[in-house]
């Protein structure tokens, strides 16, 4: 065990909010069902690499993110 993993989501008017915590020395693959990276905000800003976001790719109707450790709050608009 490398630590506690947390995952939570909440529907809001124009989409949903997804919160997660990835333990230290661990990485996570996050699948978000949205068709564009433009629909995702982290800390109220557009996604950018570094600061925990290792990479992302689009696959079908999902955006797949590789996350390093830490806490994240994503806002996804429909």
């Amino acid at each position: 065990m490398y630590g506690r993993i947390e995952s939570a989501w909440k529907w809001v008017q124009d989409g949903w909010i997804y919160r997660t915590t990835v333990p230290a020395n661990t990485s996570a693959t996050l699948h978000l069902k949205t068709n564009s990276i433009q629909n995702i905000l982290l800390d109220g800003k557009k996604l950018k690499k570094g600061s925990g976001i290792q990479s992302w790719q689009k696959e079908g109707d999902e955006i797949i993110l590789e996350l390093g450790s830490g806490s994240y709050e994503f806002q996804i608009t429909k």
């Binding site: 065990m1 490398y2 630590g3 915590t21 333990p23 230290a24 020395n25 570094g50 600061s51 925990g52 290792q54 390093g68 450790s69 830490g70 806490s71 994240y72």
Partner: protein
């Protein structure tokens, strides 16, 4: 507003900011130091104990990774039993002991040092104590089944 000359008070405030910054940057810890998946294992009968630990950072510290580790084991008289040396890797579970032969009923301390992705070291220590280290329940061959005639 009158701008005063740097004073003792300003110096003190600067010092407080400095210490605050130091505290903020040093909140990565090594916790749950374990031997054979037990904390402060008393009575270990394993001649090859396995070491584990967890790295923990503040939630806003994203991308915290272990890049190397070092395990140092010493006995009560501070004799070095094993020094793994700085070893690359992110593994922090079930690392086998590779040092000198452990003695029975002896307390050993172990220190874990972990380096993060910026090569900053974090360290912590704990202990374990060996049991009789003999798998034979009757080492002296003096035991007998309880019996009655």
């Amino acid at each position: 507003m009158r701008i005063s000359k740097p004073s003792y008070r300003h110096f003190l405030m600067a010092l407080m900011f400095f210490f605050n910054a130091v505290i903020c940057f040093s909140q990565t810890t090594i916790k749950n130091l374990q031997v054979d998946y037990q904390t402060e294992f008393l009575g270990s009968d394993d001649i090859t104990p396995h070491f584990s630990w967890q790295m923990e950072g503040t939630p806003n510290n994203r991308g915290l990774m272990q890049t190397a580790y070092q395990i140092v084991v010493a006995d009560e008289d501070e004799n070095m039993m094993w020094d793994s040396k700085k070893t690359s890797g992110s593994v922090s579970l079930g690392i086998p002991y590779e040092g000198k032969k452990l003695q029975p009923t002896t307390k050993y301390t172990f220190q874990i040092t972990v380096w993060d992705q910026k090569d900053a070291p974090i360290t912590n220590s704990s202990w374990f104590e060996t049991g009789l280290l003999d798998a034979d329940p009757d080492p002296d061959k003096k035991m007998m089944w309880a019996q009655g005639y």
